[in-house]
């Protein structure tokens, strides 16, 4: 029953969120600010995680190839496929759900409990539209770009692993990266990321917007935002994979 109530409230909130902004100039400025806050500020962690995971995937793939019949170019090929199809879009979206989702929920939740949202409403500003819409649009725009960076740096991480460990020659690794490349896999990754970005920003915005109480409840809303976003990302990942790849 609570799930149905929450779903109904979420859909009603989204109806409020996606109305015409009060002032377009302010709205576009807000989007740029959110691109900075939610996207650019996440670039560092995206790069670090991607490099290390790319290296680990390459090493693990090489470790599992023990048949002399399988060419070592498969290390590059498998690393590329794993990174593009799953690691960058899904795993990094889960990381972003933690970083960005908690930020959105705690920011909006704090505004709620300190009456800043009431202040907006009394001024005649639609608070859902003013606060959540720029975050959703910024996330849907910037997260796919972050994921492109992630893919590039993860593949570079695999390359570094090849150099430093000698598990595969850099020549074989690069040949593997270039083998049987289907550009549609990148399209699939970007579509998934955009959907995940929408989930992260809207679910976290919802959790923050309906926070009641004080600091403790803001923390709880932030936790719920991360947990619900993560669950929705994992389940929608399955659905999107079936729809886009089957």
């Amino acid at each position: 029953m609570k799930f149905i109530t929450d779903l109904g409230r979420y859909l009603l909130l989204m109806k409020e969120v996606f109305t015409k902004p009060d002032k377009l100039k302010v709205f576009f400025r807000q989007i740029l600010i959110e691109i900075q806050n939610l996207g650019i500020e996440s670039l560092g962690i995206v790069i670090i995680i991607s490099i290390f995971v790319g290296a680990v995937v390459a090493i693990q793939t090489a470790y599992n190839i023990d048949s002399p019949l399988i060419p070592l170019t498969m290390v590059g090929f498998t690393t590329r496929q794993s990174i593009i199809l799953e690691f960058s879009p899904t795993m990094l979206s889960l990381v972003l759900a933690g970083k960005v989702g908690s930020r959105i929920a705690s920011e909006i939740g704090t505004m709620r409990v300190s009456e800043q949202i009431d202040a907006l409403e009394i001024m005649g500003v639609n608070p859902a539209n003013y606060l959540i819409q720029p975050k959703v649009i910024a996330s849907v725009f910037i997260n796919p770009i972050l994921i492109i960076f992630s893919i590039a740096f993860a593949l570079f991480g695999g390359y570094l692993a090849a150099i430093t460990t000698g598990i595969v020659t850099t020549h074989d690794y690069i040949i593997g990266l270039q083998s049987w490349f289907d550009p549609y896999t990148v399209t699939y990754a970007l579509i998934k990321t955009a959907v995940f970005a929408f989930i992260i920003a809207s679910v976290s915005g919802y959790q923050g917007f309906y926070t009641r109480g004080g600091a403790l409840e803001v923390g709880a809303a932030s936790t719920r935002a991360v947990v619900y976003s993560s669950i929705l990302i994992i389940t929608s990942n399955l659905i999107l994979t079936q729809l886009l790849l089957a």
């Binding site: 009060d22 002032k23 302010v26 704090t110 505004m111 300190s114 009456e115 800043q116 009431d118 202040a119 409403e121 009394i122 001024m123 005649g124 500003v125 639609n126």
Partner: protein
């Protein structure tokens, strides 16, 4: 003038406002007083539309606020300024951006005109030159004054203040009270102040409504309140032993 006619508001089984009818006049400070939990904040939230009344009407002049759509309310809300208990300044904006926000959203002023208006409002609340400070860098009294500056930036017709003195020392409270009173007369607006601070009552209580257990129990002014024989209001006004002995 703002008026409530027979409004009722409940939360589940808790009947908070019981058939309240009240009028707030223009150009004077209208005080709503009462104990904590008496329904003052719920009343003020119903007036500004943050809570919906279960029954009854709220009128702004001739306009029935209770029946209005969000779009219609939006027009009235542009004429409302509100000072919240904690100030409710936007954390991520500096003082100048906070005061300028309503002007940016709802006026056609040029950036230079907006800045002039911000500086005028900040000077009016005796805070010139604090434009670039963040809310976290302000004292409690300064937060309240910046919030007043923001509330009057669009030249409102109605000003609501929810516990404007909470958390302030008596001297700063006095400054805030007198500032609100002066602005009310200067701008000829309808001001409603929600308080349980007796200093405010005696300083600026042009019209006082005492709310007791969700009902309007007593109405009068600061002169009447000391002479009334009403038990509940005497218990509220002369709460301490010292005050009782003085009476």
């Amino acid at each position: 003038m703002i008026e409530a006619r027979h409004i009722n508001k409940s939360f589940d089984d808790n009947h908070v406002l019981k058939d309240i009818s009240i009028k707030f006049r223009k150009g004077i400070t209208n005080l709503v007083i009462g104990q904590s939990g008496s329904g003052k904040t719920v009343l003020i939230k119903c007036f500004v539309g943050l809570l919906e009344v279960d029954s009854g009407e709220i009128l702004y002049g001739d306009h029935n606020f209770s029946n209005m759509t969000w779009k219609e309310r939006k027009e009235i809300r542009k004429e409302i300024g509100m000072l919240f208990q904690g100030g409710a300044l936007f954390d991520y904006m500096n003082v100048q951006e906070n005061v300028m926000f309503p002007l940016t959203m709802f006026s056609d002023m040029t950036p230079a005109e907006r800045l002039d208006r911000v500086n005028f409002c900040l000077e009016r609340v005796n805070l010139p030159g604090v434009n670039k400070l963040m809310p976290s860098e302000l004292s409690g009294g300064m937060v309240k004054r910046v919030a007043i500056a923001r509330a009057i930036s669009l030249e409102p017709k109605y000003l609501f203040c929810d516990e404007p003195n909470s958390g302030l020392d008596p001297q700063t409270s006095n400054v805030i009270d007198n500032l609100i009173s002066e602005l009310t007369q200067e701008l000829d607006i309808t001001t409603v102040i929600n308080t349980h601070d007796m200093n405010s009552v005696m300083e600026i209580g042009d019209q006082i409504s005492f709310i007791y257990k969700g009902e309007v129990w007593w109405e009068g002014n600061k002169g009447d309140i000391l002479k009334t024989g009403n038990k509940e209001i005497n218990d509220f006004v002369f709460a301490s032993k010292l005050a009782k002995s003085i009476k």
